[in-house]
Symmetry: C2
Subunit: 118 residues, 2 copies
């Protein structure tokens, strides 16, 4: 941990909803959820927005308490604060992610990626 994060009980519902109500941030959260446990760095999300803009969106997610950013070397490792969100707002994250997964119009990370098969 390095940057300011709200504590679990400081996480606010309207702020979380507003933060998730942006397609770019929803795509980030969805991707983090799909790689749960694996801390990702910002470069993973470069197909969603510019580096500067990503920095802005990732800061919003962090400040809302949705993600945790840890400085490691020159990278930031980003993880979903699933436990904290589940404790504070039971069921919310799961239903948002399920809804996002079912929405074909949403931007997504790595959609234009080449699938590497064995």
């Amino acid at each position: 941990m390095s940057l300011p994060h709200p504590t679990t009980d400081q996480i606010s519902l309207p702020i979380v909803l507003a933060v998730l109500g942006d397609p770019t941030r929803l795509a980030i959260v969805r991707y983090l959820a799909s790689k749960e446990g694996v801390p990702l760095n910002c470069s993973k999300f470069l197909d969603l927005a510019s580096k500067t803009n990503l920095s802005y969106h990732l800061a919003k997610l962090r400040e809302a308490g949705v993600t945790r950013s840890e400085a490691v070397g020159t990278s930031r490792l980003i993880t979903l604060r699933r436990d904290d969100l589940d404790k504070r707002f039971p069921g919310l994250l799961d239903s948002v992610i399920a809804a996002a997964d079912s929405d074909k119009d949403l931007p997504a990370v790595g959609v234009s990626e080449v699938e590497v098969s064995a």
Copy 2:
């Protein structure tokens, strides 16, 4: 029905989240949920905002597909589109309402009301 409403499959997740990410609108939805089945008119929400401003917020909720507004005489009867939302985003509305109910900092309808007992 009288005013433009999206069909169930036109309801968009980021739009719903953004619309719910406003304390006034969250309070409206919460109150509608607590009076489920009872269509309410706008005047019920006058302690949340001015008449003009309510008109704006209620239009946002309607356009997002969260509520239904029916013109009856000079009133609008407003209901939650629970079935449609549950179909489109299972579990989402319930978890948002449960989270809102547990948040003591959120504005609410009728909080300063006198309780009329028998």
